[in-house]
Symmetry: C2
Subunit: 170 residues, 2 copies
C-alpha cells in the first residue's frame, strides 16, 4: 500500500505540476494521493483519467497534512534534495509497512524532516518533485510499474510508429 502526500499545493500556481504528480503517482504504482489544499477540479481531472485508463487509484484533497503525518500507521519517506542518497535510503525502507511518500512544493516546513523516517534525495541537484517521485517509485517497485495492468476502457498498444489505441466497451 503506497500513499503519496502532496503538501503546499497552491491551486493556481501548482495546477499543472500537482496534476503531473498525481498522474505519476497513479502510473508508477501508488494506490492513492492526498493533497493538502481542497481542489475539486484537480480531483475531477484525475478521476476522469482513472475512468478511461483504469485502475483503482484514489485522490483526496483538502486534508490536514500535520494530522495525517502524526496519525500515520506505517513509514514516512520525504523526498528532498537535502536527503540521504537514494541508493542507501531505499535499502533501509521497511517494505512490510504501509508507506507514505511526502512531496513538497517549494520549501516544506521543518517538522517534515523530523517526522519522516527517511529523508531521501533523488540526486542532490535541484530538479523536480515530479521526477523525484517517478524515480523513487521506480526503485521502490523494482520497475514493476512498467508492466502494471490497469484494464481501462482505453488501452494503448506500444508501437514504434504511429498510435495504436484499443477502446474496450464495458
Amino acid at each position: 500500500m503506497i500513499t503519496v502526500l502532496r503538501i503546499g499545493h497552491r491551486i493556481h500556481r501548482d495546477k499543472r505540476i500537482t496534476t503531473h504528480v498525481a498522474l505519476v503517482a497513479r502510473a508508477f504504482g501508488a494506490d492513492q494521493i492526498l493533497i493538502d489544499t481542497l481542489d475539486k477540479k484537480l480531483e475531477e481531472s484525475i478521476i476522469r483519467t482513472c475512468k478511461y485508463f483504469g485502475g483503482n487509484f484514489k485522490i483526496k484533497t483538502g486534508i490536514n497534512p500535520k494530522k495525517t503525518l502524526k496519525e500515520w500507521k506505517g513509514k514516512i519517506a520525504h523526498l528532498t534534495m537535502y536527503g540521504e542518497k537514494l541508493e542507501k535510503s531505499i535499502k533501509k525502507i521497511d517494505e512490510k509497512s504501509k508507506l507514505l511518500i511526502v512531496i513538497g512544493a517549494e520549501k516544506v516546513p521543518a517538522y517534515i524532516y523530523d517526522i519522516a523516517d527517511y529523508n531521501v534525495s533523488i540526486g542532490n541537484q535541484p530538479h523536480s518533485e515530479v521526477a523525484a517521485l517517478a524515480i523513487f517509485l521506480d526503485r521502490y517497485t523494482d520497475a514493476k510499474w512498467l508492466n502494471k495492468k490497469f484494464n481501462g476502457k482505453i488501452q494503448i498498444q506500444p508501437s514504434n510508429k504511429g498510435k495504436n489505441v484499443l477502446t474496450i466497451e464495458k
Copy 2:
C-alpha cells in the same frame, strides 16, 4: 552528447512544467536543452541554477524545431505514451551517435513520429513529460547521473536529517 528538444512550449501555461523539464535535463545528465518558443525568463532562471549549482548545461529558446530535426546529425528519440516499450527501445539506441530527445507538451505534430528514429514509451499510461524524461535519462545513462559531479558554488551533502549545504568561494 545528449540534447533535449522541448516543443509546444507556451510561456504562460507551461512555465513551471518546462522549467522542470529543463532542470531534469540538466540534473539527469543531458548537455543542453532547445525550446521552440522564445522565453528569456526561462533562460535566465536555468542559467542562474547553473551559476550556483555548477555544470556546463546550455539552454537556447526560440529555435525552429522542424529545421533542428531535419538537420540533426545523429539519432532522434521521441518520448510518447504511444511509443515502443522502454526496455525494448533503449537497447536499440545507437550510443555512439549524438542523441536528440524530443519532448512535447500536449499533442505533438504527426511528423515528429515519422522523423524520430525511436518513438519510446515510458509506460503506456498518461503521466508527465517531466517523469518520462527522468526515467529515459536514468536508463540511458545507466543511472550514472546520480553520481555526476557538478562542482558548483553550492554543494548539498546528503543527510538523513536536516540540511547540510556547502558554499564554496571561487
